[in-house]
Symmetry: C2
Subunit: 741 residues, 2 copies
Amino acid sequence: MRFLLLALFALFSATAFSADNIVGFDAEGSAAQREIEAQLDRTVDAREMDGWLKLMSARPHHVGSLASKENAEFIAELLESWGYDTEIAEYEILLPTPSVREVELLGPTPYSATLREDTLVEDPSTSVRETLLEPYNAFSTDGEVEAELVFVNYGMPADYEILERYGIDVTGKIAIAKYGRSWRGIKPKLAGEKGAIGTIIYSDPADDGYGAGDVYPKGPFKNESGVQRGSVMDMPTYPGDVLTPGRGATKGARRLDREDARTITEIPVLPMSYRDALPFLAAMGGEVVPDEWRGGLPITYHLGPGPARVRIKAEFNWDMVTAYNVIARLEGSEYPEEWVIRGNHHDGWNHGAADPLSGLVAMLAEAKGVAELAAAGHPPLRTVIYAAWDAEEPGLIGSTEWVEHHADDLKEHAVAYLNTDGSSRGFMNIGGSHVLERYLNQVTEELDDPVTDITLKERRRAYQQINGDDKAKAEATERNDLRIYPMGSGSDYTPFLQHLGIASANLGFGGEASDGSYHTLYDTYEHYMKFRDPGLVYGATLAKVTARATLRLANAPRLPFEFKGFADNVAMYVTELQELADSMRSQTEQTNKLIEDGIYAVALDPNKSFGPPKVKAPVPHFNFAPLKNALGRLQEAADSFDAIAGSNAIASEEINRLLFTSERLLTRDAGLDGREWYKHHVYAPGFYTGYGVKTIPGVREAIEQRDYEKVGPQIDIAAGVLNAMAERIEILSEKVQGESS
Amino acid sequence: MRFLLLALFALFSATAFSADNIVGFDAEGSAAQREIEAQLDRTVDAREMDGWLKLMSARPHHVGSLASKENAEFIAELLESWGYDTEIAEYEILLPTPSVREVELLGPTPYSATLREDTLVEDPSTSVRETLLEPYNAFSTDGEVEAELVFVNYGMPADYEILERYGIDVTGKIAIAKYGRSWRGIKPKLAGEKGAIGTIIYSDPADDGYGAGDVYPKGPFKNESGVQRGSVMDMPTYPGDVLTPGRGATKGARRLDREDARTITEIPVLPMSYRDALPFLAAMGGEVVPDEWRGGLPITYHLGPGPARVRIKAEFNWDMVTAYNVIARLEGSEYPEEWVIRGNHHDGWNHGAADPLSGLVAMLAEAKGVAELAAAGHPPLRTVIYAAWDAEEPGLIGSTEWVEHHADDLKEHAVAYLNTDGSSRGFMNIGGSHVLERYLNQVTEELDDPVTDITLKERRRAYQQINGDDKAKAEATERNDLRIYPMGSGSDYTPFLQHLGIASANLGFGGEASDGSYHTLYDTYEHYMKFRDPGLVYGATLAKVTARATLRLANAPRLPFEFKGFADNVAMYVTELQELADSMRSQTEQTNKLIEDGIYAVALDPNKSFGPPKVKAPVPHFNFAPLKNALGRLQEAADSFDAIAGSNAIASEEINRLLFTSERLLTRDAGLDGREWYKHHVYAPGFYTGYGVKTIPGVREAIEQRDYEKVGPQIDIAAGVLNAMAERIEILSEKVQGESS
């Protein structure tokens, strides 16, 4: 293989690590740093990680369970034993757990959903279920409702536009939606906005079950009884404890009344398996669904409403429980006031072997190695903090409460936050703040994929060259650095990045193992070791990747922030926004004309109820000039900084401070329109996608939601944060130049 | 609706029929012609058509059955009674019918396929099954084979490339293929070429069953027991009686030995329902199929080979049977030696209500109207021949034998051939020789859709504007005439068009009713009247459309052939060919580079057997200049003819003869490479698609099959036929100018 890859190495020889300094280091420093990294690599022991994984995944360990508390204590003991200054930070949070879960098909053919997952003889862990949380969606409201069923596909805004064309209104009905395409919480949120009185979410086997591949225990895909649990808290409004938005949920904290918590759903919602969903869907009538809405059950899918009539009863114990965050600190030898924070949650919905323990044990291996380096005389220059978060699953609660609690300190001291979560095997996926793009790319240039004998970066590049869309393919050939993806939400980086403006990243492996056990009883040690990452070979590699990422941040004379990659990504977003407006404008024009000319009406089957779409307001032209001017300034500043600082490690405390606080400039205290908790104006989770990112969200969502009045003001706001960043980079150039002369 | 459509009418006002002469007529002639067409419309009686449909579909009536003979006699009597000079032309043809049909899953879990369709209480016709041909594929060879099963998706060339990447060789195996994507005969042909020893074809419910919509009797889609019968004769090599290629199968005709017939399959093949297919597919192992290969059964699909082990036994009665073509002639009052031929087959696989009787009863209504016009003093100026073909289903046999038998006369006298076949409701679909494009468009400008109160053409245009791809959408707005599709094969126009070069067309309605009964027991009167065209409202409209098409050909002073549309379509094909070569060249280059650089190898999951594709020979640049020069000449000649003849009806017998024989110039006696029966060099069925057309087939298939040596010579051949056509049009311009001066 190596021989064949000569061409590649030739093409990207500029990045071959032996020739380059590490970003932020000079030549000598780079050599020393690489030396201690190699030393750390030797401490990573997959068998030890396996032991931790097996131990911590032996029982269900959701927040509030004894197992979760004991896991936290186990983690704290390990970290303490390696020399970390360790505490368990406790928060008192509201956690609903189910007391009544009933979903009943009243007719035409009565059926009661089991809402229960099978114990499998092939997987002993699945019989460990004394403290199991049976399938539910956390932060559904209590309720009992009865109505006809309507099939809403994935329950996204575009799906309701289609339903409207069929003349179907969900007002007063129960919506049944497939998992997927959006974060699950969007489904009941939107159903409620549209007037539905209850929601069922199920995993369709075409997406997540036998249609996708062999199901557990034969293969890794979703068992027919498997139910994806998960939070439906309205996290795009704010994550964390629902009673203490913006404040740490400490014992004495001021709390909202539950009725005033905006992030609990308006209508009751329960999840189910595809085995349970079959009788419900088979009992539906009305028009046959559009082709693209079909699932993998052996029936004809219908839209309803009815004749299937359904009763949902959902009641929850609204208990206050304690979340246990493990916080372990290793003081920096040179810059103790600069904090590099590294985290992974420890709570799981069930046994949680993949999610989150696969990532957690990699973090522990890393932490152990970092401690051993320190003990061997190579302490981190900056303070390193390892955090094992509790209560991520119900809504990023542990991390959010800690971040809110320590917001002022974090704004002052936090250099960056590095996150991991469930990981498996395949390709290195990195998301994050683009000021970190170059430095993170460099890390993946210096480690080999454990299976294919090529660097992580080049394997990822190969994947993109074969599987990417045309643009990704071209970029894989032409762009030296692989883009890191912009982050929406879905793990504990959210409060750091989007609430406080701390540059953040999320790292993991994936792409070669099914995620079918996600949030089910089947996310066990057995499943993980058989299908996800046998031998933890990728887990061990992940520890080495994140150790480099942590240590380079901790030890670099000048923090490895870089701005050309940032400017290049922002340029892409600005182009996308203009193209979005242009394509919406021309599509709206064309469609309106076809509607007004009566073309739609005559092209449709008169025997079906599917009618033309509604005429939409024309899309005006927007003044993108402020954004483009700001972008121009940003690009110029980034180029200039690169020319001045690109190949040296000139630094000062002031320079480093100006570097790590630069991401703060992308936030505004006022936050995003309608959701002030989210302060970042370049990255946010979509209000109607949930996990999916919206870049330059103020502008993008105003356009997408056809809220045209807001586009201009949002362009000005976005231009403002980009100008602030550009100015900062200009100042940085001056400072570096000043230091060097 | 009319009000809203003003914009459309304004845009295309040039085509509003009251303003225009009929192509080939002057103003006075146009008025008179429209007058008799209106008279004919009044003779079309949907209730009468209903009676004929009910009668002829009461029993299974495949060729060789008593019912087929009696239907032929009934049709002949009707035509005779209306004044046609009618004969029943008999041919002796080889027809295999099944004697042994066994498909058995030997293990792991034994199962014997029923290969039998359920009788339904809801549809009385389904209990009329004494003479039913049980499901089979006609012209499968006899055989008994036993082997492991391999899933080959749709059994197309690209599917075998994927299998090869999985390291799967079908040599010595039995292939199971889904119906669809290609004409069915391609599946065993290609499986045989690849070394398989048997083939099973089944209808997957995702394509044709509950996945697509409600199944019969609840809805029109394929019942779980329904099996698509059909011929697997190698029609892309030659259609018609397998023993008499190129000759009429008259009693004393010279015949091949059966062993020498090239169009019988090499390996045995049997079709089955999805209910029967389920246990076979569920028993398969090996890799999970690629995502795009999945079907709609509630299982994980695997590629095999095995462990499913299968035995197929197929034996047939290889009987000689008589095909009864009904040929009815109404002598032209002015030009009896110029023949307008109009046909529809009468044999069906079973009850055949949709296929072919829905089209046949429309033809009979037309023929009755034409006869009544003649009786009322408006006989056709040219001879009109109505043909009801037998034995279309097993391989276009009735029409092919008659055409081969009368080839010399037809080349001399046939002006054009107009075909119909099964039809339902929805949109007007027209395919054909593009010299007929303008005239056929004009017909659809002058009749309203029976449901939406807009012309057939504008409804079709509306469909294209809403549902077309970007190019089709743009053309629907910009191009006055809607393109008629180029014809491959699949009905009785093939011998006329592709063997003799007689300008042909095929007309029908569709798009709003499922074809799920196709070639099954459920293609009954009950199914048709409930789901396909209740009240025969589209059937009656079809009669009016085809009556106009027939009568305008029969009565036009100058035959309504036109060349600008032809040149425009050919120009599109020439562009496509160049784009095809260019895109294959760049894709081959890119892919080869990715393979040679080892990118594929490292991007693929090392735990799976799916490997990189094979390097392919680079695609050279071809000299398209001869084709482009010929096209240029053709376009110029067409423009010039249009300027000279566009708005008049100047004619002579010589001009008309030069017009209707122009299509002959697109043929060459030598035929296509490797299949000399096919003489046409602009339209042919694809050698590996079957029904799907290949335009400029010599060039296109040489490129597609990467047979680069042949591309140059084939370009010269195609340029030759286009130059001949251009020269003919130049001569025509001279002649018309001569007549007018």
